[in-house]
């Protein structure tokens, strides 16, 4: 039994120009202890997928109109807001993209960790403080007792991100969702944080849902990858299969877009065009206007995800054996 199962997830946002449905039935599973990377470009729907999993999407103006989210054998969509509050932070926690704005500037960072602990565990301040200092130490921060009493503005970006990770892990969650956790950081700090993640994953045995646009980070720490494009998962599978033998034309293009370090290239491969807006997604396969292998069928029909290899799924008509699908 998977830890998290998302089936047929569809969202609707209401705007002045009418409703928008940015997700087109997302399906994925996350096993216990697995690190899954959800990869895609701006506007592909990766962040709203993550927010839907912890039912925070209504705060961004969205509404879940279809699908099921099963976490630990429980249906999250049937839970009330009160019940969800007990799950958020305790069983599922979220690390957001921007460490600069995620902490409250008027509270000491230690107290912000304690707040997270005391919401979910019945602990006295002293015990909670002990735990908080221990967590800060675990994040590889020198002088944890001093940092405990500091305010967010006294810390660097990398330090702040470590504190946020400490808050996220304070209640030993079964699932951690990290939304672009290193995008705002410098390369050397990014290396430190990713390294810290890798260590913590081994220690806490939590499952990780990593949302990112950086294929380098995915290759570094994920077990499996799901590639998203325009509200669809177009390819998913174990990390080695996706990087060494990408099957979907979008995955292939994306990997070729990254300049290689080991050799000097004359010309970079580029995917023509740009990501469509959710309001005017093309009919048929949503990638066809940018695809070099486009066939007649792609213009009118949407390909489903099919398994082409052990645990390797692709949504592309090139891999359908006959016209009815496999």
């Amino acid at each position: 039994m998977s830890l998290l199962e998302v089936n047929g997830l569809k969202l609707r946002f209401h705007s002045l120009d009418g409703p928008v449905e940015p997700l087109n039935g997302i399906n994925f599973q996350l096993e216990k202890g697995e690190v899954l990377g959800l990869v895609g470009e701006t506007g592909c729907g990766k962040s709203i997928t993550a927010k839907s999993v912890i039912k925070l999407i209504s705060y961004s103006g969205g509404e879940i109109i279809n699908g099921t989210i099963i976490f630990d054998n429980e249906d999250l969509l049937s839970k009330s807001e009160k019940e969800m509050q007990k799950i958020r932070g305790a069983k599922i926690s979220l690390i957001s993209q921007d460490p600069m704005t995620s902490l409250d500037p008027v509270y000491r960072v230690g107290d912000q960790i304690i707040e997270a602990i005391q919401v979910h565990k019945k602990l006295h301040y002293k015990e909670a403080k002990k735990e908080a200092v221990e967590l800060i130490r675990l994040m590889g921060i020198p002088l944890p007792k001093k940092v405990f009493y500091q305010y967010p503005h006294e810390l660097s970006g990398g330090m702040k991100q470590r504190i946020i990770i400490a808050i996220a892990l304070s209640c030993d969650p079964a699932l951690v969702i990290a939304d672009e956790p290193t995008t705002a950081l410098d390369v050397t700090i990014q290396a430190q944080i990713i390294n810290l993640f890798t260590k913590l994953i081994n220690k806490f045995q939590s499952s990780f849902l990593l949302i990112t646009h950086d294929l380098g980070v995915v290759a570094q720490m994920c077990d499996s990858v799901a590639i998203m494009y325009a509200g669809n998962i177009v390819e998913k599978g174990p990390v080695r299969k996706i990087f060494h033998s990408p099957k979907h034309p979008y995955t292939e293009g994306l990997l070729q877009c990254i300049p290689k370090m080991d050799k000097k290239q004359k010309k970079l491969n580029a995917i023509p065009g740009s990501v469509p807006h959710p309001r005017n997604f093309p009919t048929g396969c949503r990638f066809y206007p940018r695809c070099q292998y486009v066939m007649k069928k792609c213009l009118s029909q949407q390909p489903e995800l099919i398994e082409i290899d052990n645990e390797h799924f692709v949504a592309c008509f090139r891999y359908f054996k006959n016209s009815d699908g496999e």
Binding site: E41, T42, S156, G158, M159, D186, V187, T188, I189, Q190, A191, Q192, I194, N195, H213, D214, L215, G216, V217, V218, A219, Q220, M221, C222, V239, R240, F243, H244, G253, L254, L255, C257, I258, P259, K260, M261, K264, Q265, K267, L268, N269, A270, I271, P272, S274, V275
Partner: protein
Amino acid sequence: MSDTILKVKNLTKFFPIIGGVIRHKIGEVKALSNVSFNLKKGDTVGIVGESGCGKTTVARLILNLIEPTGGKVIFQGQNIFSFSRGEMRKIRKKMQMVFQDPYSAFDPRFTVFESLSEIFVIQKMENVNIKEEIFRLLQLVGLKPEHSDYYPYELSGGQKQRVVIARAIALNPELIILDEPTSALDVSVQSQILNLLQDIQHKFDLTYLFISHDLSVINYFCNEVMVMYLGKIVERASCEDLFQQPLHPYTKALTSSIFVPDPDKRLTIVPLEGDVPSPINLPSGCVFHTRCKFSSKICMEKEPEAVEVMPNHYVACHHFKKIQEK
């Protein structure tokens, strides 16, 4: 030397910190100290470094957008800091800049046409057929004449960056400073823009100063790189030399913090501990000694000077020989 287009000599910039009751100067941010380099015509030189290392300050000083604390910028044989505003306007035709964020580079209430035609008005070029010229520019950057009637919000990030590039090449400049031109863009669009910049460079024989924090992009795009750390250039070499044989410990750490998109090449060690020190209280001696594993007594006392270790490979480190032998 006739083929040197830009000479930067001992460029220094300290930003004052104003504070206290009587609003006096209480300190200085040492953004840039004693930076010198030359650019040859047709070169593409990259500046790489982490946030706060002074990359953008160099760009703004070269264009005379901010007052220097000391030093000279000699463009085509003339010191630009001695120019009056009127003279500066004339020389700006020859040097242009592409900024990082295409989203804030335009007046939201101007159409593309209005934004682009402003250039010719400001430069008092009445004899130009503005309409024809703008259509020609848009075509050059891969857009259609229709796009001239669009407002910025109607364009995607990639299209906006194309218009920014069109604006930069409108007056036939000789030098273009590209300040993180692709970091706000998605990877698939990034490669389109990089290819466009290369085409334009060949067409118009341009010189580029390319500022970025992304080493793989620098390696692809530039023929020479300067690595900056805390307002100083610590190493300068051709791309091949620098990436294959980095001599400064900071460059070494930078090049080994890149996550290659290949799951078989995972990093196992953290290349660099700690954070960048504050530019308000710079470390004594070599600014990097607080994070350097080769650091010794001399590093704390004496600032290393740039040495030409190999032809056209400069490094500012006391211990480069030790590193070279390793």
